[in-house]
């Protein structure tokens, strides 16, 4: 039971970005994907989530055996997938509380209403962990939020929706060190044997706080190296220059 990406190929505007990507993240593990700009990191997250700008030309993605590529975007979410956005969207006029509530309501069978009291209790508990002021419930989703507030809000949604598999797309970008610690706390609180994580990042810094079990290096649409947490440190010191050298057998 895990997220399995098999020989995934995807294009944007007819140009190939993912070129036969293979990845397996078992439940209970945290895998990091690192790589230089343009290597396809964000594309991978968006293709898994189902963004329509990307055309999947081959391969498969399964979550606990379910074929994700065959599902609508919202079905993937309800099937247990969560994507924390690199650039969370602002939704003017929709309060944060109503937004998360609608997302939870969408998971209930028709005719069943979310228990409002229990909902707010749970929401406030999670906001406390993320050190978010209560006023964020009434504010429009992400509107006028600072970079750090937006990322905390992503993690809040993740905690509320209780997914089985989480992808964090460059969650560390735009975060100062204090926000990074709080966001990481939220993520670490959710680590469990029943849940997998794919942490996409450009920098090793995030991985000091969210310790990965496995680190992959993505380059030109493929995983080119896989190793333990020490691989992230190695990349931090020597950079991605090794990618330019010809691969020798």
């Amino acid at each position: 039971m895990s997220l399995i990406v098999n020989n995934l190929q995807a294009n944007i505007d007819d140009s190939p970005i993912l070129k036969g990507l293979n990845l397996e993240v078992p439940k209970g593990e945290v895998h990091a994907i690192m790589g230089p700009n343009g290597s396809g990191k964000s594309t991978l997250s968006k293709v898994i989530a189902g963004h329509e700008d990307y055309e999947v030309t081959g391969g498969s993605v399964t979550l606990d055996g379910q074929d994700l590529l065959d599902m609508e975007i919202d079905e993937r979410s309800r099937a247990g997938l969560f994507l924390a956005f690199q650039y969370p969207m602002e939704v003017p006029g929709v309060s944060n509380a109503n937004f998360i509530r609608a997302a939870l309501q969408a998971r209930l069978p028709k005719g069943e209403e979310l228990d409002a009291v229990a909902y707010y209790k749970s929401l406030y508990e999670k906001m406390d962990i993320l050190e978010m002021d209560r006023k964020f419930t009434a504010r429009a989703v992400n509107e006028g939020f600072s970079g750090g507030e937006k990322k905390r809000n992503e993690i809040l949604q993740m905690m509320m929706l209780d997914p089985t598999f989480c992808i964090l797309d460059e969650t560390d970008s735009g975060l100062d060190i204090d926000a990074l610690k709080i966001v990481s706390q939220g993520v670490n609180a959710m680590r469990s044997p029943e849940r997998g994580f794919l942490v996409i990042t450009h920098y090793q810094r995030l991985l000091d706080y969210i310790k990965p079990d496995v680190v992959h290096v993505l380059s030109d649409g493929q995983i080119v190296r896989t190793g333990g947490p020490e691989l992230a440190h190695e990349l931090e010191e020597s950079g991605y220059d090794f990618l330019k050298e010809p691969v020798t057998a």
Partner: protein
């Protein structure tokens, strides 16, 4: 005049029994002005893209009063609420506190005659509907008269409920004045008693905030889809006054809404807000005029339309800065959210500046819901259609935050929710 007009309880312009002379003179003058004025045509700049033929409502018989059981909850403790049926006051609930006048027009002309003589109605229909304004004057009989005395601060909004029933034409009238340093809010609603009757409603709304007053007015319009409405509004903010007028149009097959707002006196400010959600073949035609008559005044207009089906909107707005009205701060924005390919939004923003040191901006946009926004909501498990609706509702609801009045915002957002 056509012979249908004989059906009226009182003929247009004819004197009302027991009414003071000045009031009957006003009615007579209204008829005279009505006869002298021309019906608007499409060549009229104020009716470009509009439907002037639909404005010719004088030929329609006025609605015959019916015994209609109107079942509404009593007003909560401490709330002043007028209830009108076809423009005639049926009840006023709640007691007006000291310094506040809340009376139907037919009592106000006797009981507070000195306050309203010469003040009723100031409105001339300057945005293309002079003939209709005159017709309204000629038929003036009842309405809501509200005076908030100098320095009086009301916490609870005053409510005006307008119910329409039966086929034909009726008219409503609101004369609302906040005295010096007063603070109040008023919420007016338009509803049909049933889904079948085609009502034609001609409304005149006159809102004035005197020196230092703070006045917020919200109108929610939920007529049935067979009805039509012409609403002529005038708002005036005096020195250091803050007048906010907002409207939410949901119902009606055709709605024409004109608002002439004036800021006059140092540091006068007004906010002008509108949300419309036309669907099917509904057509909403809105014209505005922001008149800066003095220096150092502020006005901010925000109109948003979410258009579904084959709906059509027209927005035409002008910011007009008088000679000498220096240091004017004026904004005008119309945003259209196109929820279908066959809807049509026409926007005609405009500026005329005759002063110096002026900060003005105007603009209009038409766009569809962004795919990225839908993706975000879908990625949280919300289905595409629901996501689209939620974004459109938020787009509209956003306007009402500018009311800066929690109770009115709540009413507006609750009413809006019925449309999504």
């Amino acid at each position: 005049m056509s012979e249908v007009l004989e059906d009226f309880t009182v003929a247009p312009g004819a004197p009302l029994e027991d009414a003071p002379e000045w009031f009957n003179a006003l009615r007579a003058q209204g008829l005279e002005a009505y006869n002298a004025a021309e019906w608007p045509t499409r060549k009229d700049e104020n009716w470009r893209f509009g439907k002037p033929k639909r404005a010719q409502i004088a030929e329609l018989a006025s609605v015959v009063e019916e015994d209609t059981m109107i079942d509404i909850e009593p007003a909560p403790e401490g709330v002043i609420r007028f209830t009108f049926v076809n423009g005639f006051c049926m009840s006023i609930e709640g007691d007006a506190p000291e310094g506040v006048v809340a009376l139907p027009l037919n009592r106000a002309i006797h009981e507070v005659a000195d306050q309203i003589e010469g003040a009723v109605p100031a409105l001339q229909g300057k945005l293309g509907s002079a003939k209709l304004a005159a017709f309204h004057r000629a038929n003036l009989e009842d309405g809501a008269v509200i005076y908030i005395g100098d320095g009086v601060k009301l916490e609870q909004p005053i409510e005006i409920v307008n119910i329409f029933t039966g086929e034909g034409r009726s008219q409503t009238y609101l004369h609302l004045v906040a005295g010096e340093g007063a603070s109040a809010s008023v919420v007016e609603s338009y509803v049909s008693a049933n889904d079948e009757d085609a009502s034609t409603v001609l409304s005149v709304v006159d809102v004035q905030a005197k020196k230092g007053a703070n006045l917020t007015y919200l109108c929610t319009q939920e007529l049935n889809e067979k009805s039509q409405l012409i609403r002529l509004g005038d708002s005036h903010a005096g020195e250091q006054a803050d007048a906010t007028t907002a409207v939410l149009h949901l119902g009606g097959s055709w709605v024409r809404d004109e608002l002439y707002s004036t800021v006059e006196g140092k540091e006068a400010q007004c906010k002008i807000l509108s949300v419309a959600v036309p669907k099917g073949e509904q057509e909403f035609d809105q014209r505005t005029f922001q008149h800066h008559a003095s220096p150092h005044c502020f006005s901010d207009l925000l109109y948003k339309n979410a258009l579904y089906g084959k709906a059509k909107t027209v927005f035409s707005g002008l910011i007009f800065v008088d000679e000498g009205a220096h240091y004017t701060d004026a904004y005008q924005t119309c945003r259209n959210l196109m929820m279908s390919d066959s809807s049509e939004a026409n926007s005609m923003p405009g500026l005329e500046i005759n002063a110096d040191q002026v900060k003005c901006s105007h603009g209009s946009t038409s766009a569809q819901v962004s795919e990225e926004e839908i993706f975000y909501l879908q990625a949280r498990g919300i289905q595409a259609d629901a996501a689209r609706q939620m974004i459109a509702e938020g787009f509209c609801a956003d306007v009402f935050q500018k009311l800066q009045n929690e109770k009115l915002e709540e009413i507006a957002i609750q009413t809006l929710a019925s449309s999504f």
